[in-house]
Structure formats: structure tokens, C-alpha cells
């Protein structure tokens, strides 16, 4: 609870002095690592940044269902099919938590979905890459979920309470998904030569896009400084990217797979891995809508929404008819 903010007089915001007092209280709460809650005063820019970030996070969960759902009907064993279905279901659930968190900031899910569908809000660029083989499902679990966890664990301590709490729940499930992805790749790596090659090919295609998930380099990241000051973000893009590389290298070794970077090597002096340059042109292209699947992903999402309009309308009409409760939606 942001008690420092709560304690400011209720009408203090009406005067310029009062506004400044609110701001000081907010800054003090953030500095003291207190959580900001929905009814607390917060700077407009803080609110706007959070709406943007949480909404894009929610959109990523929803769009992120597509590349994996692409393999549900083709999963090669019933056990793997069950795991994949459960995972994609979790992602829809994460999307729902996150839209709820965003709604505490005074926006609505419908409005956010409209922004997604019209391209005014983005989702993670990683989901614009295609899943071409079954091994991609494993590579997404290991690398994409791994990168997401590296990014998201610090968000569990984010200054905005509803977001931080959503992240605690999400991170638990994500780390489960990540282990499943790793285990899937391990089974392939130790399988037939064809399976091993399939796993290596998937890692070769997903490695660099996963590194791009941490965002542009610190020198070009437009929101970073302010987000860190507000304790929405706790670490810079490059710090998190480095941490991820250092985690992945030994994991790749135990998987028996290589990472597609000839410059990747241990740097004794830094105590970290050096790695090769990221193709930021590709990153910007994908972000600008020109990645391999941008068009397909958005089109599919829009189509699901448009084709489902009559269902939502019918449910609303039914609810309106039966609000007095004589029959209807609450009966079993």
C-alpha cells in the first residue's frame, strides 16, 4: 500500500501546491519501494507508460498463442499434445490477468483490443516469426519463455502493485513452460539424427530473435531511463540480455546443441560471455510490421474477433433479457 500517497489530503490536488505535494508523496513512495495501487495518485505519464507496457504485454500473450497453437493439431505424442494445450491455455489466462491489471489504470479491455487490432499498440516482435517444425515449440519454450522470464522476474518487484502481482502468478507458470521446452529439445537432441537436426535448426532460427526480445540497446532505448526511475523497470535492456546469454550458454551445452554465434565466448576479464552483433535492421523491420508473420498474426486475431462478434452480441442480449434472473445465465 502506498500509504505516503494515501495520507495526502483528499482535496490537495485542486491547487498547484497540492499537486506538487501529491507528486512528492508519489516520489517518496516509489523511493521507499512501496507499491502504487489503483486508487493512488500517480503522474499521468506513469499511468500512460504502464497502460502501454501492460497492454502490450497482454497482447503478446494473446498473439503468442498463435505460433504454438500452430502445432497443437500435429503434436507427435499425446503427452506432448496435452502439455502444449495446457501451455497455450495458460497464455490465454496470462492475457486475461494482464488486461485486468491494465483495466485498474482506467482503460478497458475492448479499447485495448481495438488498439491491437488497428496496429496502434504493439506486441512482442518475437511472435512474428513462424513455427516451421515441431522443434520450434521446444525452442520457444526454452529461449522465448526463458527470455520472457529474465525480463519478467524483476517485474514482480515493479512499483505498480497490480502489475507486480500479476507477474508473480505469470512467472510461476512461465518457468514451468520453459522447463518443458528445454525437456522437449533434450528429447529431440538425444533422439534420432533427424530429430537432433530438427532441434538444432530451430535453435539456429530462434536464438537471435530471442536476444532481440530485450529491446533496443541501452543507448537507443527511449523509455528506459524514466521507467527505471519509476521502478517499473529494474534493469536495463543490455543488462538483462547479458544475463540471458550467460544462462543459455551452459544450457545449450547440456542440450548438446550449439548457438549460432561464432563470436560467442567466455570473457574471463568481465566474467561474462561476449557475443556477436545483433541485426538491429531486422529488429526494426519486424517491429515496423515487416516481419515474416506480422500480417498473418494480426489478420488471424482480427478475424477471430470479427467472426465472434455475433457470439458476443448474442451473449450480451441474453444477459440483458435475463438480468432479473427468472431464467438464464446463472442457472445450471
Amino acid at each position: 500500500m502506498a500509504t505516503a500517497v494515501d495520507s495526502v489530503g483528499a482535496d490537495a490536488g485542486d491547487s498547484a501546491d497540492g499537486g506538487a505535494e501529491y507528486e512528492r508523496a508519489f516520489d517518496a513512495a516509489v523511493a521507499a519501494d512501496e507499491r502504487i495501487e489503483p486508487r493512488d495518485w500517480m503522474p499521468d505519464a506513469y499511468r500512460a507508460t504502464l497502460v502501454r507496457q501492460i497492454a502490450q504485454h497482454a497482447h503478446s500473450e494473446i498473439i503468442g498463442m498463435q505460433p504454438e497453437a500452430n502445432w497443437i493439431t500435429r503434436a507427435p505424442s499425446l503427452r506432448r499434445k496435452a502439455i502444449l494445450m495446457a501451455k497455450v491455455q495458460d497464455e490465454a489466462g496470462h492475457g486475461l490477468y494482464l488486461y485486468s491489471a491494465a483495466e485498474t489504470l482506467g482503460t478497458g479491455r475492448d479499447e485495448l483490443l481495438d488498439k491491437l487490432h488497428s496496429g496502434r499498440q504493439k506486441y512482442s516482435s518475437i511472435f512474428n516469426y513462424p513455427t516451421l517444425t515441431w522443434a520450434d515449440v521446444g525452442a520457444i519454450g526454452w529461449l522465448v519463455d526463458g527470455a520472457a522470464i529474465t525480463n519478467q522476474v524483476p517485474l514482480c518487484r515493479c512499483s505498480y502493485g497490480p502489475y507486480a502481482r500479476a507477474m508473480v502468478r505469470i512467472c510461476k507458470e512461465e518457468s514451468f513452460h520453459q522447463r518443458q521446452g528445454y525437456e522437449l529439445l533434450l528429447a529431440l537432441s538425444r533422439g534420432t539424427p533427424e530429430q537432433h537436426a530438427m532441434a538444432q535448426d530451430a535453435v539456429d532460427r530462434w536464438w537471435w530473435p530471442s536476444l532481440m526480445m530485450f529491446g533496443p540497446p541501452d543507448t537507443e532505448s527511449q523509455h528506459s531511463a524514466q521507467s527505471m526511475a519509476w521502478k517499473i523497470k529494474r534493469h536495463s535492456n543490455d543488462e538483462l540480455r547479458q544475463r540471458f546469454v550467460d544462462i543459455c550458454v551452459p544450457q545449450a551445452e547440456s542440450l548438446g546443441l550449439t548457438l549460432p554465434d561464432p563470436d560467442l565466448r567466455w570473457n574471463e576479464e568481465r566474467g561474462q560471455h561476449d557475443f556477436g552483433p545483433i541485426d538491429w535492421t531486422e529488429f526494426r523491420d519486424v517491429l515496423a510490421g515487416n516481419g515474416p508473420c506480422n500480417e498473418e498474426r494480426l489478420t488471424r486475431r482480427r478475424r477471430a474477433h470479427e467472426e465472434g462478434a455475433w457470439v458476443r452480441e448474442s451473449a450480451a442480449a441474453h444477459a440483458a433479457k435475463h438480468t432479473t434472473g427468472e431464467t438464464g445465465a446463472t442457472h445450471g
Binding site: A69, R74, R80, M85, E194, G308, E313, A316, A317
Partner: protein, 251 residues
């Protein structure tokens, strides 16, 4: 390892009967689960992404237990040809629009609920499984009934589409009550209970109970004999292709 039951000259053993029954019910769950899995990423509202995949996952869980009673679950799922599958034709019907999916769910989950309730009350080898499944299926039936009401008694469009779906799938409902050997069930009684429940739900949803025959030109029970509809082969081709492309591989 036991695979598909073969019709032999000898009378089938008790094990063979159980295998055939487990296969019939396991195939129902497997095939419907697969169809629901096709919805993922296409649902009309996010809550339905969760609900449909949840139901699909329950059914897949049931299928795995049942197929494992009959043999190796993956061999049975991925290496049998279309003619060896014993599922009802109802569950293999394409998803169609949301109303078709809901009508299929309504018909099947009502049947499955009644069947599992009866099996769970008996002392047959499937009783423990049915006891667990009935809890899941109660939720599936509730989900289907709620949506039948929302679509049937919502907008005009919803009503028209729901009625169309209810009508279109009606002819696949007769085969559900063809006795499955090895299941100690009062089939005519099951059918009566099913019709009562369906009539009641459709009535509350302001829909008309179809007056058309409940079987198509195929004899009722065709699916149980391995006679399927055309779209089923394509569904299996998709489901099985990866597994079949890597003979003997472990996943």
C-alpha cells in the same frame, strides 16, 4: 501389445471386450479433443480460448487413460487408419461456426454425462475412470447449456445460427445409443434421459427440437464400426503426419 481388436473366429475374451469398449470411448474423447484444439487462437472471446482448451484438455486426459487400457496410447492414436477408429461420427464433425461447436458439445456432453454417471455407479472396470470423468463432464455440459441459452435466446442472428446447428447435427445423435459391447448400460433408458434433457434445454433456449431422423443414410452406429465421414480422414492426416514421418522415434 494389444492394438485394434480383430474379429476372429473365437468368441471375444473378456479382455478383448474391455479393449473394444475402452477404444470406443477413448476415440470419442480423443477426436473431440482434437476438434476443440483447432479452436485455439480463433475463439470469439478470450474466456472461450480458456474454456475450449480446458475442455479439450480434459477430454485428452480421458482419452489417454482409455487408450492406455486398450494398448499403447500413441500407437493407437497415431498409427491406426481411419477405418480402425471407433469414435462416433458426431465428434468428428468439423467445428463449423461457434454454434455448431456448441451444438456438438451439447449433444455429446449430455450423452457423456449420463453414460459416465451410469458407468460410475456400476462395478465394471471403467467405473473408477467414469467417476473421475463425470466431474469434468458436468462442467462441459454446463458450459454447452449456458451457451445454447445465450445463443438461442440472445439475438436473432444467434437464434438462427444455433437452430441451424442443432438441426444440422441432429442426424448424428442416434448412433450414441447403439450398445457398446462391454459396457453395462441401459441404452434405451440412456436415450430417454438424453432426449428429455436436450428437449428441456432447447426449450429454455427458445429453440425447436428437430423433427428429422436421428440417423443418416448410414446405419446408426457406423462410427463404432469404423465407418466415418469424409472430413475425418483429413483430420487424421494432420494429426498423424509428424508421428508417422519418424517411425520408431520417441518424443
Amino acid at each position: 501389445m494389444t492394438t485394434t481388436p480383430r474379429s476372429g473366429t473365437r468368441a471375444p475374451s473378456r479382455d478383448a471386450v474391455l479393449t473394444a469398449a475402452a477404444l470406443a470411448l477413448g476415440d470419442d474423447a480423443l477426436v473431440l479433443s482434437h476438434r476443440l484444439g483447432e479452436w485455439v487462437g480463433h475463439a470469439p472471446v478470450l474466456e472461450e480460448e480458456v474454456a475450449l482448451s480446458n475442455i479439450a484438455l480434459d477430454l485428452l486426459g480421458q482419452a489417454r487413460v482409455l487408450l492406455s487400457m486398450a494398448g499403447d496410447e500413441d500407437e493407437l492414436a497415431f498409427l491406426r487408419e481411419e477405418r480402425a477408429f471407433r469414435n462416433l461420427q458426431l465428434v468428428e464433425q468439423p467445428n463449423g461456426d461457434f454454434a455448431h461447436t456448441i451444438a456438438r458439445q451439447l449433444y455429446f456432453s449430455t450423452y457423456q454425462y449420463l453414460l459416465h454417471t451410469e458407468l460410475a455407479a456400476g462395478d465394471g472396470p471403467l467405473a473408477p475412470l467414469a467417476g473421475k470423468a463425470v466431474k469434468e463432464v458436468a462442467y462441459h455440459r454446463d458450459h454447452a447449456e449456458q451457451w445454447t441459452l445465450r445463443l438461442g435466446d440472445g439475438t436473432d442472428t444467434g437464434h438462427t445460427r444455433m437452430q441451424r446447428a442443432v438441426d444440422a447435427l441432429w442426424r448424428y445423435t442416434g448412433e450414441m445409443f447403439q450398445p457398446v459391447e462391454g459396457l453395462d448400460v441401459d441404452w434405451p433408458d440412456l436415450e430417454t434421459s438424453w432426449l428429455e434433457r436436450i428437449t428441456q434445454v432447447l426449450g429454455r433456449a427458445t429453440l425447436t427440437v428437430p423433427g428429422s431422423p436421428r440417423t443418416g443414410a448410414w446405419a446408426a452406429g457406423a462410427g463404432r464400426q469404423g465407418l466415418h465421414t469424409e472430413s475425418f480422414g483429413r483430420m487424421l492426416a494432420e494429426m498423424q503426419h509428424l508421428h508417422r514421418s519418424h517411425p520408431g522415434a520417441a518424443w
